[in-house]
Symmetry: C2
């Protein structure tokens, strides 16, 4: 039914907004509010929930995942106008509106609905440095007759611990507590107990009534689509004791023709010192809430906070602005991809409309990778994150797979022994230093496993990460894979036959000889990065040692990792090949192709090019590049979870988007701009606006997975928002397609763009300097370096990317002065500069 429409919205780039024009999108299309630990998920009909720091342990409002009706539960405003009533954001009431619009912007969402000459608007946002959502709501009588309206707000409190809230009813239904104080409805469940925090919902207006009991507001066996109080037009002034506390204000609004009125709602969270919890016995100390409310108690104050938020995002997005002939590219790179990078940085894989916020903490590998698209925006936060991650590293160099955001401690329950984990710390750190020049991060003393008595410099942590690979090599001299690498699904050491076992935690590995070609490539790539870093920091002897190890690994890959037309994926626990033409299924995998080529393995002997051609031949579809082919038709306990999915979904030959940028980068490094951009445009959502109904997921952000050729609906996208695809795609597009690449000593310029892109402008702020870069493309094939991979400009030794980039076809002029090589040295060109890059044959 819904598929008869192809489009449900469009971009408004002037306002950095996505405009949704139909409340019934193929799936809920969401946005995120807040970015300093106080977060809200908000759909295009205001569904979703809010949490403080940890979506499991500090959830403020209740949300039911996989609900019926879909996406029911959120920040609702019911407007009652005589016999008619509707929901301001288009749902959950199903009243047909005269007009509906949702605008998802940078850290806010706006809603507009019109019915019977009443126009209602709401702007929802989390002000900067604030533990509250603010809703600016207005009602306007656009008709010729006066209106007597009632507006009812509604939200449902979560009893803090989201897991208990959804499971432990024999307790929960007896614990709910509220307080009501004029226009503020307080939620204080367990505040009398061990909690030192409460929530509240306030409106800056006198109330005509309120409700705090869900059953009283909704009425028996009614839903959010037809609350009894909205029907009767009168709140019950209910006081919740146990069961399900809610907050609902009742405002009576009389509007003359043309009249408009505005309200500010504040849904906030306060923590109190233990000795300041109570105003008097049984009555909570409301002062912190009052102070918070005071900051937003007029429309003017709220608007000022919203303006601040706008400015904050303008500044952030201003740090790198591109203009190419391709508006889809620009829309993604300038706005939505960076916005998504912030969200993945903030939330890792914890809370989205697919991640329920109770299963996963901050992933070690995820969070390291998430920095690479975000470091240029807020480097200080990245510094803190890298050191937090480093502090969870174990003394042997291995890593916990995840840590809890509340405690920042490694979570042993989630499983571990993923041998690729530690090397991602090298990626994030080198990327951070290149962006900032902040070598001091390497000297920070960081504990191992959060044990302050066992600390080392962050540099030592990187060294142990490197050594963890060296110390865990298998029979072919390739890295042992551990449980799995880079994602959790090729489980070569668990052999589970019990459906109640988690692939991530069950311990069954008998032998441990399974080796990973993906980690082999990763080790060469980031091992050599580490060697460069050693050189830069005076550890030249260590650099030599490291390069000896990476050289040996290159050799091992060439000797034992090449299958004839592509790189093998792995050796399993029995020593059998995985991802070989000898296999019946799973003959070719994407990961090892991407990582070996990015590492420069096979660039000297044609294997890199051959591997990429094989990817093109076997894995590329209209909707992106599949993870492997042919799909596994049945479960194979020696491969684990990857074979548990139906063919075409997830890791079993789905388009698992995270790895697609590795191929995009590899093709760019091999100077194939057309392939590189073609792959990018299959993947990047801004290019796919005519496929909204097919894809279902938000058309403005990446999804984790797109169904592959073997699936029932190829091209259908799932698990939007929280995916490493975001940062990797941004990194691929800016650093490898546009070739604007921070390096230790300056900004390297190395574009790989198609012939059609004749003029490009990039405005890039880099360590405080501002570079206004025009790229003029005077060649038909504008890949810099082409096949002259041997001609390195050795004056720029710090470029650790392989193959090295020649400057023979690129001329760079800075402020009118020609530059030698393709690195704009920061030491020479801090401050603001005009850069003209000309690409010639």
């Amino acid at each position: 039914m819904i598929d008869s429409k192809t489009k449900f919205g469009h971009f408004d780039n002037d306002n950095y907004e996505y405009v949704i024009t139909d409340p019934f999108t193929p799936s809920p299309w969401i946005n995120y509010l807040g970015n300093d630990g106080f977060h809200g998920l908000i759909s295009n009909t205001a569904g979703g929930y809010t949490f403080f720091r940890d979506p499991k342990f500090r959830r403020l409002t209740r949300y039911r995942y996989n609900n019926v009706p879909v996406d029911t539960g959120g920040r609702y405003f019911y407007i009652s106008d005589g016999d008619d009533a509707w929901s301001l954001a288009g749902r959950p009431m199903d009243t047909v509106l005269d007009k509906y619009e949702c605008r998802h912007g940078m850290g806010y969402s706006r809603f507009l609905s019109r019915k019977n000459d009443v126009e209602a608007k709401a702007t929802c946002f989390v002000p900067l440095n604030t533990t509250a959502e603010v809703y600016m709501v207005s009602l306007e009588n656009t008709g010729a007759k006066s209106k007597q309206l009632s507006m009812f707000s509604f939200l449902e409190w979560c009893l803090w611990n989201a897991e208990d809230d959804a499971t432990n009813f024999q307790r929960n239904l007896s614990t709910g507590e509220v307080e009501i104080s004029e226009s503020t409805l307080f939620h204080k469940t367990e505040f009398r107990e061990r909690r030192n925090h409460y929530a509240f919902y306030h409106v800056n207006h006198e109330l005509s009534g309120f409700d705090t009991c869900r059953d009283s507001f909704l009425g028996p066996y009614r839903g959010m689509h037809n609350p009894l109080v909205v029907e009767t037009g009168k709140s019950n002034n209910s006081h919740a004791h146990g069961f399900s506390p809610i907050a609902s204000h009742h405002l009576k609004v009389d509007l003359a023709p043309g009249e408009k009125t505005s309200f500010v709602f504040v849904m906030g969270y306060c923590e109190l010192a233990n000795d300041e919890k109570w105003a008097r016995p049984g009555v909570i100390n409301k002062k912190p809430a009052e102070a918070l409310i005071h900051r937003f108690d007029t429309t003017e104050k709220a608007q000022a906070a919203l303006d601040d938020l706008h400015r904050y995002w303008q500044d952030l997005l201003g740090k790198c602005v591109v203009k190419t002939p391709d508006s889809a590219f620009d829309t993604s790179i300038n706005i939505w991809n960076q916005y998504q990078n912030m969200v993945t940085f903030n939330l890792s894989r914890s809370a989205s409309f697919y991640e329920s916020g109770i299963g996963r903490g901050m992933g070690f590998r995820d969070s390291n990778q998430d920095t690479i698209g975000f470091t240029h925006m807020v480097p200080n936060k990245v510094r803190e994150r890298i050191l937090d991650l480093s502090a969870t590293q174990k003394p042997d160099g291995s890593a916990f797979h995840q840590y809890q955001p509340l405690t920042k401690k490694g979570n042993a329950n989630i499983g571990g022994n993923f041998n690729d984990d530690p090397m991602w710390l090298v990626l994030s750190t080198c990327n951070y230093i290149k962006e900032t020049g902040d070598y001091a991060i390497l000297d920070e003393l960081v504990p191992f496993n959060n044990d302050e008595t066992d600390s080392g410099t962050h540099f030592e942590h990187l060294h142990r990460a490197f050594n963890h690979v060296v110390n865990n090599l298998g029979p072919h001299g390739l890295p042992l894979i551990g449980r799995a690498d880079w994602n959790d699904c090729l489980n070569l050491n668990c052999f589970s036959t019990d459906p109640n076992e988690s692939f991530q935690t069950t311990q069954r590995g008998a032998s441990d000889i399974a080796e990973s070609l993906m980690i082999a490539g990763q080790f060469v790539l980031y091992g050599e990065e580490f060697a460069v870093l050693c050189d830069k920091t005076g550890h030249s002897e260590l650099a030599l040692t490291c390069r000896a190890h990476t050289d040996k690994m290159r050799e091992a890959i060439n000797t034992h990792g090449w299958d004839g037309e592509w790189f093998l994926r792995a050796y399993d626990a029995r020593g059998n090949k995985v991802g070989s033409n000898d296999n019946q299924e799973g003959k070719i995998f994407i990961e090892s192709q991407g990582f070996c080529v990015m590492a420069g393995v096979g660039t000297d002997n044609g294997r890199a090019k051959k591997a990429m051609d094989s990817v093109a031949e076997h894995l590329v579809t209209d909707y992106g590049i599949m993870l492997q082919q042919p799909a596994f038709s049945g479960y194979d306990k020696y491969l684990g979870e990857i074979s548990s999915y139906p063919p075409g979904y997830k890791e079993n030959a789905g388009i698992f988007c995270h790895n697609n940028p590795w191929i995009i980068i590899s093709e760019a490094m091999l100077h194939n701009p057309d392939r590189s951009l073609a792959y990018f445009s299959k993947l990047c959502p801004t290019y796919l606006q005519d496929k909204q109904a097919l894809r279902r997921s938000e058309p403005y952000v990446y999804s984790q997975m797109v169904a592959g050729a073997d699936s029932a609906v190829p091209g259908q996208a799932k698990n939007s928002w929280l995916t490493g695809t975001a940062s990797w795609s941004y990194y691929a597009a800016v650093q490898y397609i546009l070739g604007i690449r921070p390096d230790y000593d300056g900004l390297r310029i190395s574009p790989c763009v198609p012939a059609e892109w004749q003029e490009i402008n990039v405005k890039r702020t880099f360590r405080g300097a501002r570079y206004d870069i025009d790229i003029v493309n005077d060649v038909s094939d504008a890949s810099v370096g082409d096949d002259h991979t041997g001609e390195c400009n050795t004056s720029n030794t710090s470029d650790s990317t392989k193959p090295c980039v020649t400057a023979s076809r690129i001329s760079i002029v800075v402020d009118g002065n020609a530059l030698i090589g393709n690195l704009i040295p920061f030491a020479e060109f801090s401050g603001d500069h005009k850069v003209v890059v000309t690409l010639t044959k």
Copy 2:
């Protein structure tokens, strides 16, 4: 609103049914289907879900707890008649019906709805020894015009693991798989993977259509209250790939005036051997499903299975049938209490409308106690359960707190160190032997901690349970409480200040000197039971040793456990008294009063009577007996979870019903029949039919908790069905009020009934013998024994209950022959007998 009604249903005792006449009961009123590992929970509007053995790991259908609208999701039949459509069971569509009725019976539920001259009926049940729910559905045209109807079935599959199903959406939304074969819709998610089981939904009729995709059936953003397919009148024949698989049949039904037609739906579960899973690649082996379906493919066959189920329950309930002047008493004892005992025996505390089925397994103490109201019904199952429990006992005599029903292994994750746990094994075992005479259970070899290499006789397990108390005494010679006793809330050894910590698993106990008076009483009571058992089995020396320990414990209670007007509750980890008049809050607790008096402590010195008077003075309310008084106004980390609840709820001065029977028994043992029955009638739901709206919970079963005097709504009942209250209340009523008490060598008769109860009949099957017992009450105070507690009839030494019962005021005539004493010895009177008991002054 809903409170304006006082009654929503009534008993139909002739049919063993409760009749609900309004779909909008104060909360969903549910029933259980199945009792041999295949179970369904079904509400009065057919809501609920189904599982095989383990409600966490093998859940067949999806159910959303604490849903909005309440209780949405179940076995639904939508009937479409021109422009009208309604739900057969009254919901989830909110069409106003001409008539609605739900009849919850023994293992089945019937629904009737009438609208526009169409009468629809459904009977839902699980046939004996069957892994399927069967729904017999009929439609009748009661009008004068012909009808063209459509009926749509609907249920939503759970993807087996109920916890993952509700949390792991990044995986789940890609795994769903179905097969469709004529009129059978198969759910085979993960069957291709590690599962060897599938489910199916069949109807014995050709289909006009079907749906297996939820979104397709419901339509975008619609709910179960308004499915699009029901509105359009036409199924979409959708095939689910991922997202949420459902099963919906479409049947077109043309009915002439007066015509009636019937269908049989079967929703079943099959397990297959690994080498028989597939018919051919990708196609499941449907033979087991076909065989199951074949058993119920006509209305006649289904009716025969239902008749078998009726007979099964008639037999079970026929084992003990009472007739007193008090119909509320009889209704509970003869029907609903026994029925609830079966449910608690089957499910422990795992799955109800308050227990979400994913948090708890089978409780060690719960399951032991649950046997005492159930052993007379199916003793073989109790034998197996006792040995399963025994096998989880640890070598030191202590117990895991819970075990998983699928594996029968102790669950270390749930927490342990509740020092009352092991002694409950003595209660269940002695009760079992008294009922059956099966001493052989004591000789069974049973592993400790499920380790077959470390086994001992079950008798040895009991001995270690006894010794575990002896080996864990505190500074006053009283038993250490461990984490808590008898329930989980008085946590004297954890001191938690972090709201994210579970009181059951956190390890914080610094000192371990906290002692429990409840365990002290329990030890005397069941320790002396164990001593009697030793005597009966030739371990007379051990019996002496045991009695020396219990005598010492009596002394310790009298020396250190008496507070002046009642028994103390405990000493905390600092050695301070808990449950003392010296305390500001929590001065008097119920548990130690009940257990010390049941153990006969203080019957010789007036303290027992004094304790009971104190209970009457301080704890008794109109709605039952509160757990303690005064309620704790704030959280006290030295007391733990008990102080975490708002006053009047749960353990914080709520009426935590489980312990009320201990007082009922104590009063009976002290020969206070009026108090005993008065307490019983406050507690027992059959007495409370005029309080349905206040209580909210099912008026035919016990709830775990009734809100106490300090609460906002005293008398409101929560957590119905799965509570130890069921077995304890039955045990108290039959064995102590009626005084029909199995003993090792026969049936003991020792009534404690009020003067008004002049004639009572009890028909009791006991070890195959059938006793038809008339009790003629010729005294104003009909408590046998009265204050002649010293006059034991020593000819019946096996009566281990204290105080011992005199026979001086009771005369028993068996088949016309006067009996000496109050024990009908089984050796002398097996077979069928008429017993006349006369109580005289």
